[in-house]
Symmetry: C2
Subunit: 149 residues, 2 copies
């Protein structure tokens, strides 16, 4: 899949920016047909007090209104949760590139079933960042996926 | 389901506010265990140029960070799309009250399958507002659900 690595580098830079801000280190970018960045963003739950600001939603929002998403690619450092998987399905985003799905397995198999082209890169750096974050701030991570107790 | 009608009145007021602003007339409210409004909002695609600002996401965002959603109810004037259905599933929102599912049938059957308590009120006023809007502004409506051509 062309541009997957370059897209993941953008998403990783977003994840690192989020971590530096004290937030959940997940980043994403929405790419156009030629791999150009239409929108990029990272999780902003902590920074904005906004529980809807998952990385994929942030990147989608930053891209503004688009006529069609069929030829776009959502690149994200982590397997998308049901919320962000629903985003991909509803808007017909054609491809999803995932940094890793070791630390969290979201809805990407469901996306494959529904015709989305999904690629899991199993990137060690994405996994390292999330693994360390979940170990350090488990309460924040579980809150972010709706499993707060 | 207690508070369903009262909640729908809040969501309908939001939908009407969106219509008055020139936007897509869909409103929602997230209710707490006693029926209190935790957050409310309406679709703001046109107003903010934000394609992620579906009504349910707007209400969820307005409620801020919550410890648990198990005892909350999402009330929406229209059957939730896959994006907003994914929101409900991911965050474990316990109940969904839907004004109508005539003009659009989203992911609420899927939510029922996954244990969410779903009630469709089949409210004539919700259906009238959406029916008139889709007839008047079909291009905007199809853009809002990712079917722009």
């Amino acid at each position: 899949m062309s541009g997957a690595r370059e897209g993941l580098d953008v998403a990783l830079a977003e994840a690192r920016a989020g971590l530096a801000e004290g937030g959940v280190p997940i980043g994403a970018a929405l790419l156009g047909p030629a791999g150009e960045v239409l929108g990029r963003g990272h999780n902003r739950r902590v920074q904005d007090g906004d529980p809807s600001a998952h990385a994929e939603t942030a990147a989608f929002r930053a891209a503004g209104r688009q006529r069609s998403y069929a030829d776009t690619t959502m690149v994200t450092t982590l397997s998308p949760c049901w919320y962000c998987s629903g985003l991909v399905r509803q808007f017909g985003i054609g491809r999803v590139v995932i940094g890793e799905a070791r630390t969290f397995h979201g809805g990407h198999d469901w996306l494959t079933e529904h015709g989305v082209q999904v690629q899991v890169l199993d990137d060690a750096e994405c996994a390292r960042i999330m693994h360390e974050f979940v170990a350090a701030r488990p309460e924040l991570w579980f809150e972010d996926i709706g499993r707060a107790r």
